[in-house]
């Protein structure tokens, strides 16, 4: 049974980890769009997957956060990745499966996945229209 004691243990573990910062993931923020459009498209499951993956891989310096409507409702669920010193990467039409790849390839191995990005989705749209 989950208890407040267990929560206390998590707190202590987290406070200890703050002293052994891991520079490779420090300051990384992953942000999920969580407005009506995002929620209806599956953003809650995407958030669950992000929390799971970040926890499983012990990336305790990575922050998983949420924001409102990003303004591209038809491309939801949308996930933005902010890495210190780098330009924001916006991933669109996200799913739990794609989350697993973003975490391993982008967050851990530092290589953004072009095919999932908003730029690539817009390019595709353009080609379809032509």
């Amino acid at each position: 049974m989950k208890s407040l004691q267990e929560l206390e243990a998590i707190r202590n573990k987290t406070l200890n980890e703050i002293h052994m910062r891991n520079d490779r993931t420090e300051g990384i923020r992953i942000v999920v769009g969580m407005a009506t459009c995002g929620i209806a498209a599956g953003a809650r499951q995407v958030l669950n997957a992000l929390v799971d993956e970040v926890k499983k891989r012990n990336l305790s310096q990575v922050t998983v956060a949420q924001t409102g409507c990003i303004g591209m409702c038809r491309l939801e669920p949308i996930v933005e990745v902010y890495m210190p010193g780098e330009e924001k990467v916006t991933y669109v039409k996200m799913s739990p499966e794609k989350v697993a790849r973003v975490i391993s390839e982008h967050i851990v191995n530092k290589k953004a996945i072009k095919e999932f990005t908003v730029g690539s989705a817009e390019q595709q749209d353009k080609e379809e229209r032509e």
């Binding site: 406070l15 969580m34 303004g71």
Partner: protein
């Protein structure tokens, strides 16, 4: 949306966007009376009389990213589809209370769905806001108050992924106990 819990998350987002510092989410499953009641109450900025009058219309929004607001109309539709109703009490400067009820066994009633995920998402999405989540099933109650949790956390952020996972499991187990 396919689950009422997704509407709950969405309506709770309206509350935090309205600057609330406390959001109370109540789910009451009264199977004997054949009623499911959901309410989301906040102490945010509230709505003016004019806004309140037209907020059930999908073309009403004060957001700037798009010109339609869908959250409240969707939730109302889900209630009315199964013989229920949605009502809004809101006072400018004081807060808002949105309550929807549903016929519990109505064939068109959406399932409540994944409440633990909704609570985890709501709470971790607005770490500075406090949440009280009360879930009653046939008189038995589960209660979560993030103010108590934050006391234990002493400064460790509530949106830390380990804490988020604990929250999810804590709510899951609490609800399972109620359903037993």
């Amino acid at each position: 949306m396919k689950e009422l819990s997704l509407h709950i998350l969405d309506i709770a987002k309206n509350a935090t966007q309205a600057g609330a510092s406390l959001v109370e989410i109540t789910v009451d499953e009264d199977i004997l009376k054949n009623r499911l009641t959901i309410s989301i109450k906040d102490n945010g900025r509230g709505m003016s009389k004019e806004l309140l009058q037209k907020v059930k219309d999908p073309f009403t929004t004060t957001r700037t990213t798009r010109s339609v607001g869908l959250g409240i109309p969707f939730f109302e539709m889900a209630a009315e589809l199964c013989g229920g109703k949605l009502s809004i009490d809101s006072v400018e400067g004081k807060g808002t209370n949105i309550t929807a009820w549903f016929e519990y066994d109505h064939i068109d009633r959406q399932p409540l769905g994944d409440m633990p995920s909704t609570i985890m998402a709501a709470v971790t999405g607005s770490p500075e806001v406090d949440f009280i989540y009360r879930h009653v099933i046939c008189g038995k109650e589960f209660l979560l108050d993030t103010r108590e949790i934050k006391k234990v956390l002493k400064g460790v952020p509530i949106n830390n992924v380990e804490v988020a996972t604990w929250l999810f499991e804590y709510v899951s187990e609490g609800l399972n106990m109620l359903r037993r």
